[in-house]
């Protein structure tokens, strides 16, 4: 129950309104450090909106998204930070970020929250290797002396660039794309592009990686490979994952914690086994309106 004992991400009373539409309604949940947390729900439940709020692409209408990057943060520290107008503060165990106050690029650069997209967003006209080097933009920018030293050819840029290539090779090896490093990303088959997008996000050394439907469009074999990859990210790289997924094979096999949304509201939250038998979840997925019927279905299952 790490999402209770050592939460990394606290989403509290998150509300997102688009004009008259309430996309996310007073949503609160936590994601545990080192967990794979799955955010599931029927189409239009508001999952991607939650993602966009966490990664800064939307400014939430209301609510707080606290991110304890380095270790468990005391509630008092988070509350104290909220009182100030600052985005970022420190607690005994490390840095705390209030993501709803930060612009998107700072969330990825400083808070170390990376993401992928539902419709793959690779740099199609750049090579596979270049995609992974662009992901290391900020450390390389610093090594190039914000371009000035790099332009003159002095400073540690050459060495840091070699390190960046090594890191890219490491990840290409992990996703079996080393052979295609010099090909354009847009030339890769769909499944490879999905994995490359994950590798690109991993090149930023994220603490939390948000994956928006990583298994969409993959065949069963590729899905199995993806499961292995995601478990590797959690177990070997100590990266916490937050994923939106419709493929229940993925969700039930690898996630440690499942949060279920329906019409922007949380309807269930718990371990996969508990979710599977939750009557509200089944009702939401099967579209059963009647509470009794839902319970009947749940009774059949268990």
């Amino acid at each position: 129950m790490r999402w209770q004992s050592d939460p990394l991400l606290h989403v509290e009373h998150l509300t997102m309104r688009f004009g008259g539409i309430l996309a996310v309604n007073d949503l609160s949940f936590t994601a545990g450090r080192g967990d794979i947390t799955a955010l599931i729900g029927p189409n239009g439940a508001g999952k991607t909106t939650v993602f966009n709020c966490i990664t800064g692409f939307y400014k939430p209408t209301e609510g707080r998204i606290a991110f304890a990057r380095d270790g468990r943060a005391a509630d008092a520290d988070v509350a104290a930070l909220t009182q100030t107008s600052k985005r970022h503060g420190r607690s005994a165990s490390g840095d705390i970020y209030l993501l709803e106050r930060m612009p998107d690029f700072e969330i990825s650069a400083q808070a170390k929250v990376a993401r992928t997209f539902q419709n793959i967003r690779l740099f199609q006209g750049m090579t596979v290797l270049e995609n992974l080097i662009v992901a290391q933009h900020n450390p390389l920018m610093q090594a190039s002396g914000w371009t000035l030293l790099g332009l003159l050819g002095v400073g540690p840029y050459r060495a840091r660039e070699r390190d960046a290539i090594e890191k890219a090779k490491f990840w290409l090896n992990k996703i079996n794309l080393l052979e295609r490093a010099d090909d354009a990303a847009g030339d890769l088959p769909y499944g490879d592009q999905r994995r490359l997008e994950i590798a690109r996000a991993m090149c930023m050394d994220p603490v939390l990686l948000c994956l928006d439907e990583p298994a969409a469009g993959l065949n069963p074999r590729e899905t199995a490979d993806l499961n292995t990859l995601l478990c590797m990210l959690r177990d070997e790289q100590n990266t916490s994952l937050l994923l939106i997924e419709h493929d229940m094979n993925v969700v039930m096999q690898i996630s440690d914690h499942v949060v279920v949304l329906d019409y922007g509201t949380k309807i269930a939250d718990g371990a996969p086994a508990a979710i599977r038998s939750d009557p509200k979840v089944i009702a939401a997925y099967l579209g059963v309106a009647d509470e009794e019927e839902a319970q009947a279905v749940a009774g059949d299952r268990t």
Binding site: G125, M141, G150
Partner: protein, 512 residues
Amino acid sequence: MPAGRDTSSPPAAHRLNHALREAGFAALIAIGLSFPILALGAEPDINNQLALQTRWSWMFTAAVLIGSARFFAVMLDSSRARLLAIAGLLCTAFGFGTWYFAGIADPKIVGGTIAAGVLAMLAAFPADKPEKNAHSAAKTPARPATNLSSTAASLFSAAGIGALIAFPLAMLWWFGSAGSLKWINNYGIQILIFVMLGWGLNIVVGLAGLLDLGYVAFYAVGAYTYALLATQFDLSFWICLPLAGIMAAFWGILLGFPVLRLRGDYLALVTLAFGEIIHLVLTNWSDLTNGEAGILSIPRVTFFGIPFTAGEDGFAHLFGLQFSPIHRTIFLFYLILALALITNFATLRLRRLPIGRAWEALREDEIACRSLGINTTNTKLTAFALGAMFGGFAGSFFAVRQGFINPNSFTFMESAWILAIVVLGGMGSQIGVALAAIVMVGGTEALRELDFLKQLFGQDFNPVQYRMLIFGLAMVLMMIWRPRGFVSTRTPSIFLKERKAVAADLVGEGHG
């Protein structure tokens, strides 16, 4: 589609046979078609009655040209080699034309053009390599490397720079002190200014993918910065040059801020308006800029402090040369060459730095950039600032070369011209932009040389008047045949094993 395109190309002898047959056939068709049009002409005689005249030479010229073109089309596989051969053919024909039709017997011009044309035609055969198609190559990795090796590329660029350095001296030797002025000034300097402007705009449009229709504004800022500082404060060119660059970069950032959130058509419109605003300010702020009358007697360029004058302390006297105005022109040529090369090397270097990769990533996908922690605001502003800075350098060079500037040198037409060079060359490609500048600016100048066309179309015919028509047509044809410019593939900035060009259809065009 000629038979030679097949993967299993026929043996050489068989192919030559085939090509000759095809060429003969094409020539026969040309004769058949041109006989009533070219060979027979009706012209009024002394009695003002129409009389039939024969112009056999015209018909045979057409037949030879068309036959040769067909020959090259069958013999050569790659479009690059074909282009070279056809260019050589036209060059040779031009040489013969000046001699035979226009009666210009200057052996240097006639011999030079014919020799260059024949050389180009001969060079087309070794240059004929299988079509480089990175897209299909990437899907079949078994095929060998699809790009020029880096040593060949660097040799090529070294040869190009060497040729450029030798250019004014060769012209001087070839045409003499008076005759070479036209070549060094009208062709050399004029083309290099536009090469530099094209390379500067290439950062904004080609790399960062931000469509800028008001680039001439920065050219104007650079020119006026030098003109005003030099005339009002007596500052030397070498102090003003960096100041002009900084000033233009400052205005680039100023333009950058309002357009940060704009895309596509809106971005283009605001940049267009910005160019117009600068033009109007220069026209109407008479106290500062002297309005339409412009700024006169801007100090001319000096050889690091030594003026190019005929006097005792002039350049010619100090270096023991006979005074000639060509010295200043040659110095200006080397100056703009140096500035253009600095632009080029800076751009090539920037492409390998994180900022350059971020520009290209921005062109490909802005949202993905933000998800990777790239500050897109700063990235766009640096692109505008650096592009503008090189425009400013070019502007101050323009002012020191002309000695006189007024707002009419900085109209929207100039912006359109520079943008056309970037688009025609292939967005993001340095060599493509240089080629396009040569074709567009050099082409305009070359129209002035086509006096022999008066023999064909009458004395009132002025080919320069058809400049826009010809370039409009050329642009339409380019957009049909090579919609992504001369060099449409993208060269990766980094590679593990081999540098494979990225096919044009994958490369983004930015949001503008």
